[in-house]
Symmetry: C2
Subunit: 417 residues, 2 copies
């Protein structure tokens, strides 16, 4: 008998019919002889509906009250799912985040888990019950209701799996696993059997939507064995686990892309110490995340440099730069959109020199200009014009043997909580 | 500066526009110099919608899970109301039942308040905040979420008022006070300035819907000064207070009626000891409340008797009686509907003999047959055919000087929680 955590996202429990299907799946798992803890998100569009309700009252709701409001969504889900399981004749009990012992800090809307006290979960498991925990929520030491922010329910599931030393944490979602690349672009993209935490983390950070990076980090930190699988089919899904356990010899496991990229260029910056620090401090204070940074040639004592931000932050980033003209001398600031960041990811890359060169070569042979580059130990990203996305991904997929090998991409509609 | 508890029912916060109006009213109260605690119900039809959701999953939801489900309704209300008040520039904070320290027993769906620990309420008041508490809900010693059942939010408001020694507990509802009788029947029915706890309790128990009997009992027990007033107008409302403080000399304060009455008659019951006990024990075990009981003449060693039950329980009551034929010998059991119970209520009645006789006389003079009678120290009820309701109430209203005096009736659409 093993101890399994099953996490179902909002679309998996979008209405009561789907909830009944999920209940059957959960009961079947228990009848296989496992102890089962379920983590569930708010039903379908509930969270968005609640946000709309708040917006009809105020444009600037207090984060504390938003947490009070939004956590009701998961509470409704756990109660209904408990009823659906009980209706099948199987004992079940629902818990809110605070009842389940999810202790967080006080950062409303983006709280971090400080501790888990799974006493009630364990007691209910001992009583033979299926335990259903509201995802995304916790309680601070002061008794305030908090939410974990984006990816919260994934994180809840992984954190509970770690706390109760579960044998497996299954993330049920609306895609049936991790693919070598987006199947909408490459029809012969392949579903992976397995992927390492680090690879999954890079893919998640690159905007792939199945698993939130925080949840993957947590899983890696506590060595929680994860499976990503569909809540609508019985397909096997993709196992996320330690690198050491992975098959060897695969350089590139998957290709991801992110269209939400804008390039900001600052031209004619006076080349003085502290200039870069001034620029990026100002952006950080405005809450704008900067990704790739490239400094180009210096001439006549001035430099040009450029960086990428999220598409939505492009105009604001320009305003921030314009706003520090008193501290930073520069000629002009411009922004460029209609870009895409294409990334190849693979743990094998670190020991294979020439992977970057090969990527650049493949892209160049398509007649496509690479505008920016960034690399990490297991990832290389190139920013190109979005018009070339399909041809570049097809070429890379083939060049790195992904048409035949086991490879990785996470795509499909987002299910964040 | 006084300390005031304001309670708003579901229809008062039926949508976000109404909620904004309620927020203004609350802020105005604070700006008059009072400390304010607000108790609020779930918005409009929220509770019914949640019940429908549960019913779409199971016909027999566990009471614990229903509490988990339904308490989200009030949680949404308190969060939104806090936002609406904050939007007006006034500090506010929302609390769930458990955060507000509403400690109850474990009886899910009909929990009783065991204790209130208003530490957080008092702290927030000291910080100059308007405190908003979710009505209808609490927490058991084991950390289980409970609901107080019918009249729950009224009870929450009164219980908090008692615990924090508030100067006043205002119940805002969709009628503007307590009337001498139903204004839909008697156009010149008058709004009362004041009514005693006991009178209010009788009226509430007679099906009048503004205040739940439990809340009135609680108010009486802890001597909480209550005001019933409209959330839509600035009319003064009706004060509910101690009898000693009431004006003297008024015999009948109000007239109430209840159409949800059925009469069950058992004929030809063998007149043996223990028969009545057997019948009413069986009904109690089936959860059927019995109101008026009348035993009629005994002949040939058999007796007839009849009693009233809630209209909805009539068929079930008959089945229960049929089901004890092995223990109780009787000829037949019948039920009668299309009845109404008309009651006159007044604390002055107890010291005025002849009030009952006068009531019977007034009804008889209308040519109406009285089918059953019951009396208490401050109430006399007669069951008659519902077809005569209007003429009987008009005649009583006039005969007991209610057309001119201060009198009492609570009517209008129900707002239970």
């Amino acid at each position: 008998m093993s101890l399994v955590v099953m996490k179902f996202g909002g679309s998996s429990v979008g209405d009561t019919e789907r909830m009944k299907r999920v209940a059957k799946r959960i009961v079947a798992k228990k009848e296989e002889g496992h102890k089962v803890v379920v983590v569930v998100s708010a039903m379908g569009d509930t969270t968005d509906d609640l946000i709309d309700l708040a917006k009809s009252i105020t444009d600037r709701p207090a984060a504390r009250e938003m947490d009070m409001l939004l956590t009701t969504g998961e509470q409704v889900s756990v109660a209904l799912l408990a009823m659906a399981i009980q209706e099948l004749g199987t004992p079940a009990i629902s818990y809110t985040g605070w009842q389940a012992g999810m202790i967080t800090d006080e950062a409303h809307g983006r709280a971090k888990i400080n501790d888990i006290k799974p006493k009630r979960i364990m007691e209910s498991l001992e009583q033979g019950k299926i335990v259903i925990v509201a995802g995304f929520q916790g309680i601070s030491d002061d008794g305030e209701i908090t939410t974990l922010g984006r990816g919260g329910s994934d994180t809840t599931a992984v954190a509970i799996a770690a706390a109760i030393q579960a044998d497996l944490c299954e993330i049920y979602t609306d895609v049936d696993g991790v693919y070598s690349t987006d199947p909408r672009i490459v029809k012969h993209a392949r579903k992976l059997d397995a992927i390492s935490y680090d690879e999954m983390l890079e893919l998640a950070n690159l905007g792939a939507a199945i698993l939130h990076p925080r949840a993957v980090e947590y899983a890696k930190q506590y060595n929680v064995k994860l499976v990503v699988r569909s809540s609508f089919t019985n397909a096997e899904g993709t196992l996320v686990k330690e690198e050491a356990a992975m098959e060897q010899g695969i350089v590139v496991r998957g290709i991801a892309y992110d269209k939400n990229v804008a390039r900001i260029s600052i031209q004619g910056v006076k080349d003085e110490p502290g200039i870069l620090a001034a620029v990026f401090t100002a952006l950080a204070e405005a809450g704008i995340d900067v990704d790739i940074i490239v400094q180009s040639g210096i001439s006549n004592g001035t430099a040009d440099f450029s960086f990428t931000v999220h598409l939505e932050d492009a105009e604001r980033a320009k305003s921030v730069i314009e706003g520090i003209r008193d501290r930073v001398e520069f000629e002009k600031v411009t922004s460029e959109t209609d870009l895409v960041k294409v990334s190849i990811v693979g743990a094998g890359m670190v020991s294979n020199p020439g992977v970057a060169a090969k990527m650049f070569d493949v892209i160049s042979k398509q007649g496509v200009n690479i505008k920016m580059v960034s690399t990490s130990e297991i990832k290389i990203s190139c920013v190109i014009d979005v018009t070339h996305l399909t041809e570049v991904i097809l070429a890379l997929h083939s060049a790195f043997d992904l048409d035949t090998n086991q490879t990785a991409f996470v795509g499909g509609p987002k299910e964040r909580r």
